[in-house]
Symmetry: C2
Subunit: 342 residues, 2 copies
């Protein structure tokens, strides 16, 4: 469609148009629409009818200036793939019913200066609150400067315990994985995971060790195999484990990518998954876990639920409440790489 030149360009109706149609002053129209100040109810009805007739959408920016509320939340992330932040964003939007809130995502790319710039841009647009999503679960410094709106930290907690942080219980996640393997009848379990420098790797390993100890068992090799989060490490570590401990009957992997590498090596060794050996991943990253051969059982961190809780806590804080930090368990999503054995 090309614009017909004779048709004047569309101009959204203004408060002045509404006031003119209702036969009142702009100040009165503003009071009537914003529900503030003294306006006779008949006048108020007349103004609202005029607004309706003109499809007048009160400018949220101007409304924000008046009321201090805009129904908008900023989400700061440094998660370059959007893999963690997009489900959290969706959860936060859904926390207060469809169409009530818009979440604006800004990508700080792990850079403090860029983060500050985005915070400033979001605040100057009068967001009601901020959600800060970390790219790893290690505590992060709180946002710099004085932030005049509530802030909720998700996935990575704030290093300041006075802040509100909504996080995943990774120790519990490690425990869940091992308990699932034990329930499947496995007893000789290895743990191949990512870099020991990551809190998430240490937490998952701690939970795994605790669950094994509770069953009177120890990890194969007497320690977690820390390495990196990728497939190459999964392939290399599985090679070591199978060569040194051929009796291994299950492997708990710290990420789905590691698990993919493990599956590949086990296939090379002719080890049947899940009949001879079970494999469980972590993250439940659909693109990696859902279409592997066999399809991968994995721990899901419920990121969307985390986002929902973060949204709820943020809105509560905006309303003046003082919510506290919370940690949530993951859940097992069972596919074909683990099976109960007789």
């Amino acid at each position: 469609m090309t614009t017909e030149p004779e048709v004047p360009a569309y101009r959204p109706p203004t408060l002045t148009d509404v006031a003119r149609l209702a036969g009142v002053s702009v100040a009165t129209a503003s009071k009537a629409i914003n529900g503030r100040g003294e306006v006779r109810s008949t006048t108020r009805v007349r103004v609202l009818e005029a607004a309706e007739l003109l499809s007048f959408a009160p400018n949220a920016l101007a409304r924000g200036l008046l009321s201090g509320r805009t129904g908008t939340v900023g989400l700061l992330t440094s998660d370059l793939e959007g893999r963690f932040s997009i489900p959290i964003l969706m959860g936060a939007e859904d926390a207060s019913g469809a169409g009530q809130v818009s979440v604006f995502l800004c990508d700080a790319r792990g850079d403090a200066i860029r983060e500050k710039h985005h915070v400033q841009a979001l605040l100057s647009r009068r967001v009601d609150g901020l959600i800060v999503v970390g790219s790893r679960t290690d505590p992060r410094p709180p946002l710099a400067g004085n932030i005049p709106v509530p802030v909720v930290y998700v996935y990575a907690p704030s290093a300041d315990p006075a802040d509100i942080s909504i996080t995943v219980d990774n120790v519990g996640g490690g425990r869940l994985a091992i308990e699932h393997l034990l329930a499947c009848g496995r007893r000789t379990i290895a743990h191949i995971t990512g870099e020991a420098g990551f809190q998430a790797a240490r937490d998952r390993a701690e939970g795994a060790a605790a669950a094994l100890a509770a069953a009177g068992l120890r990890m194969v090799g007497d320690r977690p195999y820390f390495g990196s989060w990728d497939e190459s490490w999964g392939r290399a570590a599985a090679h070591m484990v199978v060569e040194q401990h051929p009796e291994v009957d299950a492997i708990f992997c710290g990420s789905d990518q590691i698990a993919r590498g493990v599956l590949e090596t086990l296939r090379d060794f002719g080890r049947d998954v899940p009949r001879s050996i079970s494999v469980i991943g972590f993250d439940n990253w659909e693109a990696i876990a859902a279409d592997s051969r066999p399809r991968l059982t994995s721990i899901d961190m419920n990121l969307k639920h985390l986002g929902e809780v973060a949204g709820q806590r943020l809105f509560a804080a905006i309303e003046g409440a003082a919510p506290s930090s919370e940690e949530f368990p993951g859940r097992v999503v069972m596919r074909e790489s683990t099976l109960p054995v007789g």
Copy 2:
């Protein structure tokens, strides 16, 4: 850190504070800072010095109301994984120098009502323009309603040719892939790709067929193997191709996920990649392509560059120019799954 109760909470300096310090009225301070109206130059200097002294950051929201410019762009996406939209967002931000522009991403989840809600939220916050990112390359309807700011469509073009659309040349991408395989010495090439209902699948196949025809060749099986975008299809289709056409010496895959499935089946058949057969993917999705065995050669769509161009065109449109639509070629990212043969 807990807040020390005796320290009053930080309050950002207001225009009133600036005016008071400069000894002028708020109206004068506003004119001086916004560069509008009549203000004596000595007064202007005094106001700006006071603003500097107080670290007064003129409220961008209020500035936006005055000047109609805010340095902020909205990005609407329906890409549930953020895989396409995050690089495009980064490119758009980088288009005008670091720290000049903030891009706010909103996720419409492929839902027209949600899209409208987000557009409204972004417009009411006075974004200077909108970038709309599709989740597939098929043309999409233009944004509904009257949009008072420039809009640039990226990845998926607008169905309205009068709109500005910045897209990937998928026909060219298919051609690139085949030309790379031909340059590696391959002559017996199959094409396994996604759903024929996707423009991207049809375009890539068209480019592949054209490049083969230009070399006097035809596709193995005389047609593309259309199916789905996932690994399962890659495994199944590779099985068919290798059984029916054992002479095949290269496979061009419509996505990296399909290529992963193809690699797996070729390994099952004992076909050596890249010595006996070459494989090239499409997307250059790091998590899928960069750590496979062998590591996957792939066509990269240069999404970050697409975002940069979209940002530049959007800013030009905001300044009053009338940029036209553009289509960009991809590039080959060579890894280990293709090698020149002797």
